[in-house]
Symmetry: C2
Subunit: 272 residues, 2 copies
């Protein structure tokens, strides 16, 4: 079993109430990665609606940092289940304090638009994958680059575009790169939530790998189940004001298909 599958296993305490230990293996610095935490909350929801295994839309608000090596509790409630869609909310708590709140919709990405009994739209349009050097020509995301411990890099293999991983005169607020599980686990719709929150902030492409960029809110839309292999990600910030910014992202699978989009509101706190 892969590390990820092992480390998102939940124990059921009561209907809708789950617990597990919080490993430090997904840490950024001393704090568990928000994308990993999101997958825990979403798993607590999807296992209640097995007919709708794929997250269509997941919004997470980060209320307080999670604490590694302390148990966590997840309270997950399905609000509505229909033929094609379920909606639910979940709270992840530690030490009796809520750490994150999730609101999400789920369905089945393989069922297609026919499942609702409506005629599927024939129209289709997508966002093409950007050009990027192959993974072996990219730079491994590392503690040395960022000046912070990255235990998560024992779980994930992340390669950054050689022109974007540090600020340069031609720098722009963009981060492109590749991601996969280090132990070879193939990507699935759940892991795209993690991958959407595992790259360095796009703003580092403009200002360098300095500062602290806490996420207020992150929404991920999963659009397709990914093919096996590397996932290509591109993240951009076009809107930064008063120390808060919007970062847009997209993920493509090894076949070039768009598999997820993301958008987050984050704060930029520079080191001085």
């Amino acid at each position: 079993m892969s590390h990820f599958d092992e480390e998102i296993k939940l124990q059921t305490q009561a209907p809708g109430r789950y617990t597990r230990s919080m490993p430090d293996s997904w840490n950024i610095g001393t704090v568990p990665n928000g994308g990993y935490l999101m997958t825990l909350a979403v798993r607590a929801l999807t296992q209640q609606v097995p007919q709708h295994p794929d997250p269509f839309s997941v919004t997470v608000h980060y209320l307080r940092p999670a604490v590694a090596n302390e148990p966590c509790q997840i309270d997950a409630q399905i609000l509505r289940t229909g033929a094609t869609l379920s909606t639910g909310r979940a709270t992840l708590s530690q030490q009796d304090k809520s750490r994150l709140e999730v609101l999400a919709a789920f369905g089945n990405l393989e069922a297609g638009a026919q499942a609702g009994g409506q005629t599927a739209a024939q129209t289709s349009t997508t966002i093409a994958a950007p050009d990027a050097p192959p993974p072996e020509q990219c730079i491994v995301r590392s503690s040395e680059l960022q000046g912070v411990d990255l235990p998560i890099m024992n779980r994930l293999d992340i390669r950054l575009h050689p022109n974007e991983f540090r600020a340069s005169p031609a720098g722009k607020p963009q981060m492109t790169g590749w991601i996969r599980f280090k132990d070879g686990r193939p990507p699935d719709s759940l892991s795209l939530l993690l991958f959407a929150d595992s790259f360095p902030p796009a703003i580092f492409g403009l200002i360098g790998m300095v500062g602290w960029v806490p996420t207020i809110e992150l929404t991920v839309h999963v659009r397709r189940r990914p093919a096996p292999g590397w996932i290509l990600g591109q993240f951009r910030t076009h809107d930064l004001a008063d120390g808060r910014m919007i970062e847009d992202g997209a993920l493509w699978d090894s076949s070039g298909a768009l598999v997820a989009q993301s958008r987050q509101l984050a704060m930029l706190r520079r080191r001085d």
Copy 2:
């Protein structure tokens, strides 16, 4: 008092519990507009945290259509309040069934980044307003164009780009236009939530004003308090597959400043 201010007034039943009648004046066809419903839920939250009057990030999931001329109840809970940010969730119900669920963060858009006691980032970047013909050269959104009753057009003045309001050989999934309250009420941060959900779907610019586009989830980020006057909106769909699509939007005020961004996941159900 403006119609909008009158029609978002809530009666307090108990701490965190509010009620009001559901007017039909914001209807699209026979159903109250989702943007209007969102402002009701958000108002129930913001009036609990007067120090944080501006919605920074609001996500709404539409569970069931609301019912005009039936009373509604809103249960709104603040999950966390900090120096610069409050987070809360709200449920709008009618006839004992939840109609929409909101998860949102609030703050003060005039306080600036200093409020957190951290050094504000000097860096700033924004999205420029697109070119658009002035409102008087645009087409009024109307029942005749869309083939559906639009009582909401007695409340809002909406003008659509003359090249985008209907499908054409050069059509693209884009909708640009102007919006303001019909009774002259100036825009504020709350009303941007309504405005972000009051244009016809961008996909109509590609396929014509046909079909039904129910929103699954909508997230709006308010970035600045708007100046008085018209609000310019532009909405685009780059990602449509299996009958579900992502629509991105942005709103600019009369000074040209970006005041909000939006993204929604919606279903496309064509008329056959």
